[in-house]
């Protein structure tokens, strides 16, 4: 390995980590420094914003740090995506955090560090780095999930997450070790070479390794049957973290999946394609079927996000440059939609403190604006037209079908039709019933307005004119397969 250590490539992450440290510091010494607690989120958001802005400077570069991390359009895509997510989340949830989280310094620091991990997952081009990044993200989330100390569910969720996470990473590691043994290297490029050379000698070892990797990463992506932690963790976690789980950690995992299965493991696609396909089908089926029976909004969204994972796994199954670009497009649309939903839910929760779906009764009366945002978001998740969901799903499924997996995309369409049913359950509560309890109109905070508004705009915009996003995604995919 040539040690070409160009730290300038890592500036955005340094900024993120630095601001994380800064936030911790400020929170710790805020008494001495006479800092207002409210400043901290803005500090964190600012850091993330700067990082995102800086990372834009890396457009069209294609360089690598010590052949551990690639900085190309793919990475840039995700850098921007993740920093954007974290900014939006911080802005959208700071009231919630003030109310429900004691250690806000740690909270925001963790968000930022997790983002670093997520970015490196998408940038890694070598197994060790990838693994460490995964763990960084996971650990941050283990902790973050546990952060509503007043709520015992939070602790339970975190325990489940951490223990099962440990098992999962053990599985993943064992798989990686086998791959390492088979290919004799941890570098994506060299693995690709080795595997292209023919794998007759190690057939079983290889497929076992693949199976373990699929399982391990399937856990992170919460794919059935490795998804079991998801609903519990989502329900126990503080709402912003739930959002983060369903947004960043998922996206990062898929970035990694794209890198790994689209790169080093591509030569042995025949060995893992069917695994992905079967897991995808299982995931779609389970996620959507169980979601039909939920009564808690967090859990509902958890299961629905599982269902969504199924759609994305299809793209991995039928991986190719086209599907990857379609997947990236869908992911972008999905993230925006998802955040819109979550920020709206958070805003409502700040008012009602009620997680049950029936808690949304008559929202159309008391807060029509948020009701609209939620409806748009949920419809978009269900893949309805005029909002992001339809266009992105349509293109994703079409891409998968074009790769010869028509049956898979048909299953997907069935699943997403099914999903509409439970999304409608929420819409029903908001529009069909009068609010029980106080029916007085109320106004969410300005930041909620801004964030939800922005996201709603995004949802609609992607829905009716997804072209720019799609072109970015296509660029990223091109970089990935270059």
């Amino acid at each position: 390995m040539s040690s070409h250590l160009d730290y300038s490539l890592l500036i955005p992450e340094l900024i993120l980590a630095g601001s994380a440290a800064l936030v911790l510091f400020a929170d710790a010494f805020r008494v001495e420094l006479r800092l207002n607690r409210r400043l901290i989120p803005w500090l964190a958001a600012l850091g993330a914003l700067v990082a995102g802005a800086v990372s834009l400077a890396y457009l069209d570069t294609s360089d690598s740090f010590a052949e551990l991390l690639t900085i190309d359009d793919f990475t840039t895509f995700f850098r921007v995506l993740f920093t954007a997510i974290v900014v939006v989340l911080i802005l959208g949830s700071h009231e919630y955090v003030e109310r429900n989280v004691r250690h806000i310094g740690e909270f925001y620091a963790l968000l930022l560090l997790a983002t670093v991990g997520a970015i490196y997952m998408s940038a890694a081009q070598e197994l060790i780095t990838a693994y460490i990044s995964i763990e960084l993200l996971s650990f941050s989330l283990y902790v973050a999930v546990s952060l509503t100390l007043a709520d015992r569910r939070s602790g339970e969720a975190s325990l489940k997450y951490v223990l099962l996470g440990g098992v999962a990473s053990a599985m993943l590691l064992y798989g990686l070790s086998l791959i390492y043994g088979v290919a004799g290297s941890t570098s994506y490029a060299e693995i690709h070479e080795a595997l292209s050379g023919g794998t007759a000698d190690f057939e079983w070892a290889l497929v076992l390794g693949l199976a373990l990797i699929v399982g391990g990463l399937g856990f992170k992506a919460s794919a059935v049957p490795f998804h079991m932690w998801t609903p519990d963790a989502y329900e126990g976690a503080p709402l912003p973290i739930t959002a983060f789980l369903s947004a960043t950690s998922k996206a990062a995992t898929f970035a990694l999946l794209l890198r790994v299965f689209g790169g080093p493991l591509l030569p042995v696609i025949d060995d893992w394609q069917w695994m992905m396909a079967s897991i995808a089908v299982l995931t779609m089926a389970f996620g959507n079927l169980i979601a039909l029976q939920q009564s808690n909004i967090k859990r509902l969204l958890a299961y629905s996000s599982i269902g969504q994972v199924g759609f994305m796994l299809m793209a991995i199954t039928a991986i190719s440059q086209d599907t990857s670009s379609a997947l990236l497009l869908h992911m972008a649309g999905y993230l925006v939609t998802n955040l819109a939903v979550f920020t709206a839910v958070i805003a409502v929760y700040n008012r009602t403190g009620d997680e049950r779906i029936v808690g949304f009764r008559g929202l159309a009366e008391t807060q029509p604006y948020l009701a609209l945002v939620l409806t748009a978001g949920l419809f978009s998740l269900a893949g309805m037209p005029l909002v992001a969901g339809f266009a992105t799903k349509f293109i994703l499924f079409q891409a998968v079908a074009s790769e010869g997996f028509l049956w898979l995309s048909v299953v997907a369409v069935i699943a997403s039709t099914l999903s509409l049913y439970y999304y409608l359950q929420v819409v029903r509560q908001m529009y069909l019933y009068e609010p029980d309890g106080d029916a007085t109109r109320w106004r969410p905070s300005l930041t909620s307005y801004v964030t939800t508004g922005g996201l709603l705009a995004g949802v609609v915009l992607i829905g009716i004119y997804a072209t720019p996003v799609f072109e970015l995604a296509d660029g990223a995919a091109t970089a990935l397969f270059a």
């Binding site: 309805m384 293109i395 079908a401 048909v410 049913y421 409608l424 029903r428 799609f470």
Partner: protein
């Protein structure tokens, strides 16, 4: 139509969308403003649709007129040149359907001014629906075609569940889920077609031109036929229709039975006949069979219904059955007939629902046996109702006859027996309608309904508009037939 009329076609569905946005902006207190906006935009839509209909040049050389395309995205991912474009254009069929939509939207808007509860939201959703319908008719890009097709279905749920009556939630959910379950098949078909064509574009005209293996066509057509057919109330996928209509508020029933169900048949023509002619030819008999079953089935079920709206719903199933019979004949006369029937049934059934609504809003009762001698209490209402009924039972001189006779002729041409059954159905239709008249309109006036007032002016206007359409088509149908027939004769593989 010249190419610049593409802007008109674009305006056709941007207008309702725009006014929906405008309505969102207006505070819901400003009732007069809302009424003003809706009045203006619905009138504009009507005028535009009439213009489109009239200016379609049926002697002109090209099939699609007013064709205009705006590139949406191309050369990214799976998409090649002209991958997805916003491409509008109308043929004779579309022209007729656009006119239909314009008429019904106008009438529907008028009667909806009576809505008191969340009027603004109602109109927003209604216009989104209208936009979807207009768009589907004029869209020449498969992606947008389907997008708008779904858009037309989307608002249904809330419209019915919030403003509906009786079992509204059940009806709404059932309608929504069944229709979307059906579009699964359309999705599948579209994916398959795009893949099979392999030209990386959703441009319909190119997809028409592309060649598909016969086997593929035979495999893909049923998906489209059932997928779209469900929206068209094709037996046995019709059961959303009666419940949905029974639950829906007036204007929604009007638009839905009047226009939306036509989208289904329209889809079969657009995607089925025009993309997969061989498949269509192969499956035509099947379509015909289901159609005639639906016609008889709906009519016979209607005999037993006591709820006025349910009866109308089943009669819609029956009449849409004619449409499928016409399509199934796969000859020019039959298909022309079924397009005519789409129009005729559209205005006729819209009138039905308008009238039922006008009565139900006051009486909150639709049980036929509960009424008698209504002609005394609400003469104008009864008169309109009888006209609609006569149109529906295919009385010459009214819209129904013109359409049905074409279908009959076409059917006799292909399968005389089916033709005979179709004609028989018309007699059954007469039976249940006349039974209803004799029961509810004539005889001693039931004292309980002494309080009912005759139709409001808006309703009269709407009813008059629709009746006008019924009579016009009935007495002087050539404007329709010329436009439709030229297009139909252009369909590939269709026998004369």
């Amino acid at each position: 139509m010249t190419e610049n009329d593409g802007f008109v076609l674009l305006a056709l569905f941007l207008l309702p969308l725009g006014s929906a946005l405008l309505l969102m902006a207006t505070p819901s207190r400003e009732r007069s403003a809302i009424i003003g906006i809706t009045a203006a935009s619905s009138l504009a839509m009507f005028v535009l649709s009439v213009y489109v209909f009239l200016s379609y040049d049926y002697s002109g050389p090209e099939q699609f007129q007013g064709v205009r395309a705006w590139t949406w995205m191309e050369n990214v991912g799976i998409l090649g040149d002209k991958g997805i474009q916003l491409k509008v254009g109308a043929d004779g069929i579309a022209a007729a359907m656009v006119l239909l939509t314009g008429i019904i939207t106008l009438a529907g808007t008028w009667v909806s001014w009576k809505v008191q509860y969340r009027t603004k939201d109602f109109f927003i959703l209604l216009y989104i629906l209208a936009a979807g319908v207009f768009g589907t008719f004029v869209m020449l890009d498969l992606f947008f075609w389907f997008l708008l097709y779904e858009t037309a279905v989307l608002p249904m749920y809330l419209l019915i569940a919030v403003w509906g009556s009786t079992r509204k939630e059940y009806g709404a959910m059932k309608l929504m889920m069944m229709l979307l379950a059906a579009s699964i098949l359309i999705f599948a078909a579209i994916f398959a077609i795009f893949t099979e064509a392999g030209i990386g574009t959703f441009d319909l005209e190119q997809l028409f031109a592309a060649d598909y293996s016969t086997g593929f066509q035979k495999a893909a057509f049923p998906a489209i036929a059932i997928g779209c057919g469900t929206l068209g109330g094709l037996f046995p996928f019709h059961s959303w229709s009666p419940d949905g209509h029974a639950a829906a508020p007036t204007a929604v029933s009007m638009l839905h039975a009047g226009v939306l169900m036509k989208l289904g048949a329209f889809g079969i023509i657009r995607l089925g006949f025009q993309i997969l002619p061989e498949g269509a030819e192969f499956w035509a008999p099947g379509l015909l069979t289901l159609g005639i079953i639906a016609a008889l089935y709906g009519a016979i079920s209607a005999l037993r219904q006591t709820d006025l709206k349910l009866m109308t719903g089943f009669s819609s199933v029956s009449h849409m059955g004619y449409v499928f019979v016409g399509l199934g004949t796969f000859n020019a006369i039959g298909i022309t007939g079924s397009v005519l029937q789409m129009f005729a049934h559209g205005v006729m059934t819209a009138l039905f629902f308008l009238l039922i609504g006008a009565m139900y809003d006051q009486s909150h009762d639709r049980e036929i046996p509960h009424f008698s001698g209504m002609a005394k209490q609400m003469p104008i209402w009864a008169a309109f109702f009888i006209i609609a009924g006569l149109a529906s039972l295919g009385l010459p001189g009214l819209s129904g006859f013109v359409a049905e006779v074409h279908i009959f002729i076409g059917a006799f041409r292909a399968y005389p027996v089916v033709g005979g059954l179709a004609v028989l159905t018309a007699a059954i239709t007469a039976t249940y309608l006349l039974r209803m008249f004799a029961q509810s309109f004539f005889g001693e006036m039931h004292p309980a309904w002494g309080g009912l007032r005759d139709m409001a002016w808006t309703e009269r206007a709407g009813a008059a508009l629709l009746t006008g359409a019924i009579l016009w088509l009935g007495i002087w149908p050539s404007p329709w037939i010329d436009r439709i027939a030229t297009t139909v004769q252009g369909l590939q593989g269709v026998t004369l």
